[in-house]
Subunit: 352 residues, 3 copies
């Protein structure tokens, strides 16, 4: 059903986006059209990736999910970077991390918790993810922030690149750990059985074609989207920061958000957690470093140095998430706590 | 026994306080009389609230405890706020949080640990509390602090009010969670039985009357107490900060402190933890936001922005408490660790 | 075998060090000779201490290990302090803490994990250590740092001494807790048996003599070592900070590092953890405060105030270690995570 809506929105949205940008419609109207179309396209990319992942088996499939999972966000960010909007990119990375942890996680736990008194997931996965969140955000993002205070830009970029390479190496190592050396080692009996039952929605050829077309469409629209930010910001009184953190992050992740909440409602809270925390880790350990390194070949270099409010927002989100997910048990109140945290940050970034 | 001492101190202390303030006795003498009387009155208010709570059943009772639990502190703070002592109020909130976590928690674990090698309490309660401590102090207190650095006072107040409202909503939701939707869900068998055995000390009418009279007395004395701070500070070389953090916080919480330690000695360490962490949460999620909002109707507005040392003291206290209580197992050494942390902070605030 | 190598290196290294320093050889050459000789001597001191500890029984033995465990580092630091290299000393303390947690811990988990899929250790020990790490580094090191921002040097020293005394008291209390009141209380059955099987390598007289001679030799060489730092720093473009954090810390702890990794490979991961975290705690709670207090009797006073990058490096290392060791289960990936964290910091300090 959701799938069909995404398709209809895409079939309508893509041509309208092309026509609208060609005819220079009102930028606020275009901004809205672009956003809706990208949300639909992100949903389709997600489905296509999933189909390919199932067909390719768990190892290559895991790799596919880990690479294309945040493709939309990566594409938008690349175009924003090329347009020199370094601060918007950093903001959208921040928004993606806190949005996934607090908004997606919170909505999932809350919705699932309305139906079930307690929901459980594998506590080893929770701890594995906690360790990586603390590594990536509390350590690897904080060190360049603090150390760069006493550095010139050259050294800051050198440090950023060093940290980025290490983040990507550890991200690949985490995949290797999860998919090869320790696959199933920490799983409960029941989970091992469940893994079998999935079936691909589309054939390999169809999925690849859809993935390709949707990605091209996202790229096209993203390029135009980033140029509407200035007008939209002036119109609504939104800062670049707010657009990056709340708007771009929500648009780039809406499809994922939806499926996490659906999974929670089906009592597959483990999948919701995997989406929420997994996406955050992907943004922190794969998308962010890739953008830092990509920026070397562009006109605007992007060091891995967030603004202080962004960093604090991410760090406190991580500590809250680690504390709440650490016991592998969730309920509606834990979901509400995460949502309240998100609202506090949204107010804060709006007022900045 | 303790109860009787409180009564005697009240019966002597209240009239002397009235006479002393009327005759303008030496302010240092008055300060001491006020403090002792308030400690005794706080003890009586605690007993009256408990009686009413037992008579009203667990749901309304829980609500009563959650509202009147820090009534004394709230009253003192309101009068201090009216007198323009914004910094003293923020300091006393800080002192209350760290005093409850480190001093009450520490004394309880240490005293209990001298008698018992290991004491246990419900690990789910510990995690629930840990999540809220991290939400309220590490997240909800830090965000306004950091974000307000780049804001004017107007926006800082707007953010403070937003955060305050969210804190109070989540506090009420936590009560709803604990008393209604998940009552007993996370309890062990043994605990469910224990819950029955309590009996109210006073009848409903008597308890209400006592509560009313004691509250009026506290209000009267508090109003005079806050005006002695300046003289006392000059006399002893104490800063406003030190008076707020150490003196006011101890006076406002002494009665609670005593009962937490008594409970630990009776091997009811779960009750001690509930008092220590519960009071901290109440101060952070109910008293603090209420004061911020109340300040809107006064001459001096109070943003939810602590001084940097205050915030760091609270955050580090939370991390230490979460780490030490996280396993639901305590001993004398864990108590001593908390006490040592309190001494470090006391020295720090004294020297500031 | 390793033992024999240490002996040969010592027998060659000590006389060459004496001759070289007497004849004023090239300082870079001397620096290398000194470093190698000290590593070997540290190994021998470790062996002698262990023999004495076994002969003295668990209580006195634990005390011996806790006092002499970082003797080499203490001696180097004392001479560096006397030479006025306060920043090098603080840097070497930092380097020791992060080196033990991330490098020793990381190498142990990684090496052990290559041979065993999962390795386990006592989860109560892990939590006990976590609490102390958070107490010592996140709380006791942060408070003087933040509070001293608003203090003059006199008050900063007073605060530093207060914190130092409290750290040492708690360190002694921790020994008392572990060796006397709660010995074996938290141990698993199996562990209690294992404790018996150790045998001393050397007799009491021999061990004492060796300990004495090696300590004198370390002292002699350390005094000369600290005077080569300036030349070496200029030659290789290393800052004082980098020499302190990476070089001195590795030289002072190399022997311990080796035995932690060997233990992990023998599947005694609990011993590795004890060495890694135990040494960090010893540096933070015993060596650091002892140096602060010792500095009172020297020309250069050393407050317990690290540079901001140093403090952040230690705090983030603690959070990562606490998160990774909290479940008492390790694997190669957790080791790699710690190592990656160390590399990030090494790059950062190199570029500072």
């Amino acid at each position: 059903m959701v799938n069909r809506i995404f398709f209809i929105l895409t079939i309508i949205g893509v041509p309208i986006s092309v026509i609208g940008s060609y005819l220079h419609w009102n930028e606020v109207v275009l901004f809205i059209i672009y956003c809706i179309t990208i949300i639909a396209l992100a949903g389709i990319i997600g489905r296509a990736t999933e189909s390919l992942a199932i067909l390719a088996g768990p190892r290559i499939g895991g790799l596919l999910n880990a690479t294309f999972g945040n493709a939309v966000e990566l594409i938008i960010s690349l175009f924003a970077l090329q347009a020199g909007l370094v601060e918007v990119v950093l903001a959208s990375l921040t928004g993606s991390v806190i949005g996934n942890l607090l908004l997606v996680g919170g909505l999932s736990f809350f919705t699932g918790g309305l139906k079930y008194k307690r929901q459980n997931f594998n506590v080893y996965d929770a701890r594995h993810n906690s360790g990586l969140l603390i590594f990536a955000i509390v350590l690897a993002f904080v060190i360049p922030e603090i150390f760069s205070m006493d550095m010139n830009l050259d050294r800051t970029m050198t440090l950023s690149i060093g940290v980025s390479i290490i983040l990507m190496i550890l991200y690949l190592a985490a995949l290797f750990f999860k998919l090869v050396t320790h696959r199933g080692v920490y799983a409960k009996e029941q989970e091992k059985k469940e893994e079998e039952h999935e079936e691909a929605e589309w054939s390999k050829g169809k999925a690849t074609l859809i993935l390709l077309l949707a990605t091209v469409a996202v790229a096209y629209i993203s390029e135009h989207l980033v140029h509407t930010f200035e007008t939209v910001g002036q119109k609504f009184g939104w800062s670049d920061l707010f657009i990056g953190i709340i708007v771009v992050a929500i648009v780039g992740n809406a499809a994922e958000h939806a499926s996490a909440v659906v999974m929670a409602y089906k009592n597959k809270i483990g999948v919701s957690v995997e989406i929420a925390i997994g996406s955050s880790l992907q943004v922190a350990m794969f998308v962010s470093p890739l953008l830092v390194i990509s920026s070397l070949f562009m006109n605007y270099q992007m060091p891995l140095v967030f603004s202080f409010p962004e960093l604090i927002a991410m760090i406190t989100s991580v500590f809250l998430t680690v504390s709440i997910t650490g016991d592998g048990d969730t309920n509606w109140f834990e979901g509400l706590t995460l949502l309240c945290a998100y609202f506090i940050m949204a107010i804060g970034f709006y007022l900045l």
